[in-house]
C-alpha cells in the first residue's frame, strides 16, 4: 500500500517514522547537529502561528557575487574575482555564511582584487568615462570629485552617500596629489569604496519593528536583498532608482519589481545556478563534452518547466521527454534523429522519467568508479527530502564499499551486510534501498541490466522508500516522490536556504509551511513560489540573531 500523502520525519536513524497528518511537504531532518525540524510542534500552536521575520546575519559576498557586481559596476570582464578570491565550500550552496570565516588569505586577496580592477578600469578611457559623471577641469577639480564620489558610492554601497562621507572620501585627494593626478584620486576613492564593509558584506540594519529584535528593512536594503537573491549581484542603478521612488514600499510593489528581475536573462541564470548547486551538477566529473551535454539537458528541462510551460513544478520529475543530441540519445538508448543539434525526445518505455533519469543527477553518489547505493540514497534524502542522515559511528569504516566475500559477490548481496547488524540497518535502510532502485543507471546515467564485473549479477532496479512503498527505477522513484508530496516542502526549504544563506531554524517553520502550502495550492509554479517568498511581508524584515 502506498500512502498518498505521507511524509517522513526520520529520527536519528532509529527507523521510526513520524507521520504528521496535516503538514504537506516538510520532512524532518535527523541526527545530531542537524537543524531543528520546523514541522515539529513547538511551543504554542505551530499550525496557526504566523510567520515571523527570518534571522539574518552579515553575509560576505561570494566569489561569484563579487565577480558579477564588479562586472556591473566597472564593466570588468576579466573575472579577476574568480582568479584571486579563495573559493567556497558548497553546502550545497556557495553562500552559506556559517562557512564565511575571516582570514588573512581572504583579506589579502580582496585588497589585491580591488587594486587590480581599479587599475584596469582607470586604464581604459571608455570604462573610466562610464563611471565619471563630469569632466575634471584640472587635477584639483574637487567639484568633479564630489559628484563622482556620490554616483560611484551610491552604486558601490547601494544607498545614497552622505555629505560627511563625501568629505571623508575627498580627503584622499591630498595624498593622491602628492605624486598623482585626478585619476589617482578616483582610484583611491574606488579602492576605499570597494573595500568598504557595505560593499564586501551585505549589511542589513533597518528600523526597529514592534517586536524586540525585529526590524523593517529600508528600501535600499530591500533592493539589495532582492537583487542578490534574484540576480546574484548588487542592485543596479535602475533598481536603486525604483527604491528611491518608493516602488518597493508594499509587498505588491515588491512582487511587480521582482517579477521583472526574475524574467531577465540574469534572473533566469540565477535560478539555473540555484538548481545546479541544489541538484549537484555545478561541476560534473566526466569529460568536458559529456558534462556540457548533461548540463544542457538538465538546464533545458529546468527552463522549460519554470519559464516556458510555467506549469506544475513536479514536471521536473515527471517529464516524459528530455533534451538531448544524438550522442546523448545513444548514450541513454533513446532513438536518434540523424540530425545535428538538440531536440526533445520521448522516453517511451525506457523506464526513464524526469530529472532523476538525467546523467547530471545520476553522477552524484559515486564511490570510487561505481555508483554507491548508500551514497545515492543519502544524496536523495539530503537534497530531495531535506533529511540528514547521522554519520557512521567511530568504529565502522565507510571509506570503501562492502567487499566481496565467498557468499556475497553481487552488489546487492555485498551491501546486505549493512542490514545484518541492527545498528547499521537503522540508517542504511533509509539509504541503500533508494540507491538500489536507481542501480540500473550507472554513474553516467547509462542503462545497465547486469554488473559489468559480474555479468551473472542481474540488476533489477528494485528499490524502496522506507515507510512509503516499493518502486522500480528512476521512473518509479519519481512517481513515488510526487505522490508523497514531500517535495513541496523540501523545494521550499532549499529555496529558503539559498535565499538566507543558512539552514532553517525552528522559527522559520511557519514561513516555510505557508510558502509550501501556497505553492501546492497555487498549482506548484516555481516562479510564483519565488515571488510569494520575496513578496511575503517578512521578506522586507529581519530578526536579529540571538
Amino acid at each position: 500500500m502506498r500512502p498518498a500523502l505521507v511524509l517522513l520525519a526520520v529520527t536519528a536513524c532509529t527507523g521510526d517514522i513520524v507521520v504528521p497528518s496535516t503538514l504537506p511537504g516538510t520532512t524532518g531532518p535527523s541526527g545530531p547537529g542537524s537543524p531543528a525540524d520546523p514541522s515539529q510542534p513547538g511551543p504554542g500552536d505551530p499550525m496557526q502561528a504566523p510567520p515571523t521575520p527570518a534571522v539574518t546575519e552579515l553575509r560576505r559576498l561570494t566569489r561569484t557575487e563579487l565577480d558579477r557586481t564588479l562586472s556591473l559596476l566597472l564593466g570588468d570582464t576579466t573575472h579577476a574575482a574568480l582568479t584571486l578570491m579563495p573559493g567556497e565550500e558548497l553546502t550545497p550552496f556557495d553562500n552559506d555564511y556559517s562557512k564565511q570565516q575571516a582570514s588573512a588569505v581572504w583579506v589579502e586577496a580582496a585588497e589585491r582584487l580591488v587594486q587590480q580592477v581599479t587599475q584596469a578600469t582607470l586604464a581604459s578611457a571608455t570604462r573610466k568615462a562610464a563611471i565619471l559623471p563630469c569632466t575634471p577641469a584640472n587635477d584639483d577639480d574637487l567639484a568633479c570629485l564630489a559628484p563622482f564620489i556620490k554616483s560611484f558610492g551610491r552604486r558601490a554601497l547601494h544607498r545614497p552617500i552622505t555629505d560627511a562621507e563625501v568629505t571623508e572620501l575627498s580627503s584622499l585627494h591630498a595624498l593622491a596629489r602628492q605624486r598623482g593626478t585626478f585619476t589617482t584620486s578616483m582610484g583611491l576613492v574606488m579602492q576605499r569604496l570597494l573595500l568598504d564593509p557595505e560593499f564586501l558584506f551585505r549589511v542589513e540594519v533597518g528600523t526597529p519593528g514592534a517586536t524586540a529584535g525585529t526590524s523593517q528593512l529600508g528600501a535600499y536594503e530591500l533592493a539589495a536583498r532582492l537583487s542578490f537573491f534574484l540576480l546574484g549581484h548588487a542592485p543596479s542603478d535602475a533598481l536603486l532608482d525604483a527604491a528611491e521612488r518608493g516602488e518597493l514600499d508594499t509587498p505588491a510593489q515588491v512582487r511587480t519589481v521582482a517579477q521583472g528581475l526574475l524574467e531577465s536573462s540574469e534572473g533566469h541564470s540565477q535560478l539555473e545556478l540555484f538548481h545546479a548547486m541544489w541538484l549537484g551538477y555545478l561541476s560534473l566529473p566526466h569529460d568536458a563534452m559529456f558534462n556540457a551535454r548533461a548540463v544542457n539537458e538538465t538546464t533545458a528541462l529546468v527552463r522549460k518547466v519554470v519559464f516556458e510551460d510555467r506549469g506544475d513544478y513536479r514536471g521536473l520529475f515527471t517529464s516524459t521527454q528530455t533534451w538531448v543530441d544524438d550522442t546523448m540519445a545513444e548514450h541513454y538508448g533513446l532513438p536518434k534523429s540523424g540530425a545535428a543539434g538538440y531536440r526533445w525526445v520521448d522516453y517511451g518505455s525506457t523506464g526513464r522519467m524526469g530529472i532523476l533519469s538525467h546523467a547530471s543527477l545520476l553522477s552524484n553518489g559515486v564511490k570510487q568508479t561505481d555508483t554507491s547505493p548508500t551514497l545515492r540514497g543519502k544524496w536523495i534524502r539530503n537534497r530531495l527530502f531535506c533529511q540528514e542522515i547521522a554519520p557512521p559511528p567511530p568504529n565502522v569504516v565507510a571509506d570503501v564499499p562492502p567487499p566481496e566475500t565467498g557468499s556475497a559477490v553481487c552488489k546487492k548481496d555485498r551491501y546486505a551486510a549493512h542490514d545484518q547488524v541492527m545498528s547499521c540497518a537503522a540508517c542504511h535502510l533509509q539509504m541503500d534501498p533508494i540507491g538500489f532502485g536507481l542501480e540500473q543507471f550507472d554513474r553516467t546515467g547509462a542503462f545497465r541490466s547486469a554488473e559489468a564485473a559480474h555479468p551473472e549479477c542481474e540488476i533489477r532496479g528494485e528499490g524502496a522508500l522506507q515507510g512509503v512503498g516499493n518502486f522500480v527505477g528512476a521512473k518509479g522513484l519519481a512517481e513515488l516522490m510526487v505522490q508523497t508530496s514531500s517535495l513541496d516542502g523540501c523545494v521550499t526549504r532549499q529555496l529558503f536556504r539559498f535565499g538566507t544563506g543558512r539552514r532553517e531554524l525552528p522559527t522559520d517553520g511557519a514561513l516555510i509551511r505557508d510558502l509550501s502550502q501556497g505553492f501546492a495550492k497555487g498549482g506548484r509554479r516555481f516562479d510564483q513560489l519565488v515571488l510569494d517568498y520575496v513578496s511575503h511581508p517578512t521578506f522586507a524584515q529581519r530578526q536579529e540573531a540571538p
Binding site: E88, S103, A109, L172, Q191, L195, F201, H286, V400, A545
Partner: protein, 487 residues
C-alpha cells in the same frame, strides 16, 4: 592614520635585535648580527601514507641502518644533499578506537582525515574534528614576538580537485586557539599573493631616490585605504547587533593586521636578507578530476594539477627568505592535501593521483611497482623539502646557519601496516609505522640519524621539536614525552 609604532621601526631596522636599545639598533645596521638569532619552527606535511597494499616500506622508505650513516631508500633519495642534517624517525604509531572507544591521542578506526587532528595536536578525535591548536600556532605564539607574520600557513596544492572543489578548499589542517575553542586558519596557496604579502613593501636594491619616494607613496596609499576601511568597520559596528559585531570584529582584525603588515618597515636588505625575485603570475589553476565512460579518471594534464611543482619551488624560495629576513618564525608548509587527489603525471610521470598511488593506483601502474610508484610521489615532496632545507643551511647566521636555529619537521598523514577498519595487515590506511623527518639544530636537535621509535606516538616528534625551540609544556594534547635520542 596610526603613526608607525616604535616597535615596527625597531624590528625593521634591527632585524631581530629587539632587545637592543633604540639608538644602538638604529645606528648599527649590523647590530642584529651580534644578537642571538631567534629560534624558528617549520612543519612540512604530505597528504599521503608511506606505502600501498602489499608494499614493503623497508625496501622503499625506511633506512636499513639504524643510527648514523643511514641509507637513503628511493622515497627519500632526494634528501641526499641534506642527509647529514636530517634525522629519520620511524616506527611511530597513532592509536585508534577499540570497541568504539577512542584512546588518548587516538582516532576512529576510519582513515582519511580521521587521523590528522590527533597527529597534529596530540588530542584524540572521534570524527576528525580539531579541538586543540596545531603546533605551528603554538610555536608562532611562543616565538612570534613582533614579527609581521606570527604564523605563516601555506599550501602548495591549490584545490582538493574532486567534486565541485574550488581553489583554496580542502580539509583544514591548521587551527589556532580562539577563546575556548579553535579556529581554522585557511592556507595561503598562491605564490604570487604570498610574495606580495611578504615582500610587497620591500624596496628593491639600487633604486633612485625618486623611485624610493614613489614606492613609499604607494605604501602610504595602501595604508590610507586600509585605515579608512578599518575606521568604517568600527563605525559600522555601532549600528549592528551582537552577532554581526562578532563577524565585523573578526574581519576588522584581519584588515588591521594587513594594514600593520603593509606599514611595517622592511628590514634593510643587506647580508642574507634580500628581496626575492617576483615569482610572476601563478600557474593556471587546473580543473577537477574527470572520468571517462569506463569510470576511469582521465588524468588529463590540465585536471587535478595547477603547476604544483613550480608553485612548490616558488613557495620554498619565499619561505626561505621570510625566515631569513625574520618576517616569521613559524611556518606550516603543506605540500599536498590530506587524501591528496593531485594529478601526479607532470610531477613524477605517473598517470595517477597521489591518493591512488598510495593504493596501487589507476592508469599506467602495475601491481608490482605500486609501492615504488608511491615512493616516486613521496620523493617529489623530498625534492622540495631538501631544496628548502639546503637554502636554510646555506644561509649563515650566528650559531652556524638559519637551519642551525630551527626545528624543521616533515610529516606524512599516514604510515603503513594494519588497517583497523577492514583488517588488512598491510595497507596505506594505517597509522602504524608512521615516520617523520627532523632537521635543524635548535635546542640540541640531532641530525643525520635513523631513530627507531617503535610504538611511540608521532605527536611526540612534534613535541620534541616544539621543546627544542623553547616550548616548556611537557605534553602536546594528550601525548607527552620526547622522542629519546632526538636531542
Amino acid at each position: 592614520m596610526k603613526p608607525l609604532s616604535r616597535r615596527l621601526v625597531l624590528r625593521g631596522a634591527a632585524g631581530f635585535g629587539l632587545s637592543l636599545p633604540l639608538l644602538e639598533a638604529m645606528l648599527d645596521g649590523k647590530a642584529w648580527a651580534q644578537a642571538q638569532p631567534p629560534k624558528r619552527y617549520l612543519l612540512g606535511f604530505a597528504g599521503c601514507s608511506l606505502g600501498g597494499y602489499d608494499g614493503n616500506i623497508a625496501q622503499t622508505l625506511v633506512p636499513t641502518t639504524v643510527g648514523a650513516s643511514y641509507d637513503l631508500k628511493p622515497a627519500l633519495a632526494n634528501l641526499a644533499p641534506v642527509k647529514s642534517q636530517v634525522t629519520v624517525v620511524t616506527g611511530l604509531k597513532l592509536p585508534w578506537a577499540v570497541n568504539g572507544v577512542v584512546p588518548a591521542g587516538g582516532k576512529a578506526v576510519q582513515f582519511h582525515y580521521y587521523q590528522v587532528a590527533p597527529l597534529l595536536t596530540g588530542q584524540r578525535s572521534t570524527d576528525g574534528s580539531f579541538s586543540k591548536p596545531t603546533t605551528e600556532h603554538l610555536a608562532g605564539d611562543l616565538l612570534g614576538g613582533n614579527t609581521t607574520f606570527k604564523t605563516l600557513v601555506t599550501r602548495v596544492q591549490v584545490s582538493s580537485y574532486v567534486d565541485a572543489a574550488q581553489p583554496g578548499t580542502g580539509q583544514a589542517i591548521s587551527f589556532r586557539q580562539n577563546g575556548t575553542s579553535v579556529q581554522q586558519v585557511p592556507p595561503r596557496y598562491s605564490p604570487q599573493q604570498l610574495f606580495q604579502a611578504l615582500f610587497g613593501n620591500f624596496a628593491g636594491n639600487g633604486l633612485t631616490p625618486d623611485q624610493v619616494a614613489e614606492q613609499k607613496w604607494l605604501v602610504e596609499q595602501r595604508r590610507s585605504v586600509l585605515d579608512g576601511v578599518g575606521d568604517r568597520m568600527t563605525k559600522l559596528k555601532a549600528r549592528l547587533g551582537v552577532a554581526d559585531q562578532r563577524r565585523v570584529d573578526a574581519h576588522l582584525a584581519e584588515f588591521r593586521e594587513l594594514e600593520t603588515r603593509v606599514a611595517a618597515i622592511p628590514p634593510p636588505m643587506a647580508g642574507t636578507c634580500l628581496k626575492p625575485a617576483d615569482p610572476g603570475a601563478d600557474p593556471t589553476v587546473g580543473g577537477n578530476q574527470q572520468t571517462n565512460t569506463e569510470g576511469n579518471i582521465t588524468y588529463a594534464q590540465n585536471l587535478g594539477y595547477s603547476g604544483e611543482d613550480a608553485r612548490a619551488k616558488a613557495m620554498c624560495d619565499l619561505i626561505h627568505m621570510a625566515i631569513t629576513c625574520d618576517l616569521t618564525r613559524s611556518v606550516l608548509l603543506q605540500f599536498t592535501n590530506s587524501q591528496s587527489f593531485m594529478n601526479m603525471q607532470a610531477i613524477s610521470g605517473q598517470k595517477s593521483d597521489l591518493h591512488e598511488l598510495s593504493h596501487g593506483g589507476f592508469g599506467n601502474l602495475t601491481d608490482a611497482d605500486t609501492t615504488q610508484a608511491l615512493a616516486r610521489g613521496i620523493n617529489w615532496h623530498m625534492k622540495h623539502w631538501a631544496y628548502l632545507l639546503a637554502k636554510l643551511q646555506a644561509t649563515p647566521e650566528p650559531g652556524g646557519s638559519v637551519l642551525s636555529n630551527m626545528a624543521a619537521i616533515f610529516t606524512w598523514e599516514g604510515g603503513h601496516g594494519l588497517d583497523p577498519a577492514d583488517g588488512r595487515a598491510v595497507s596505506a590506511h594505517s597509522t602504524e609505522n608512521m615516520a617523520m623527518l627532523v632537521a635543524g639544530g635548535a635546542g640540541g636537535l640531532k641530525g643525520g640519524l635513523h631513530l627507531k621509535a617503535t610504538g611511540l606516538h608521532p605527536s611526540q616528534v612534534l613535541l620534541t621539536g616544539l621543546r627544542a625551540v623553547g616550548y616548556t609544556g611537557t605534553a602536546l594534547g594528550e601525548v607527552s614525552g620526547e622522542i629519546p635520542g632526538l636531542r
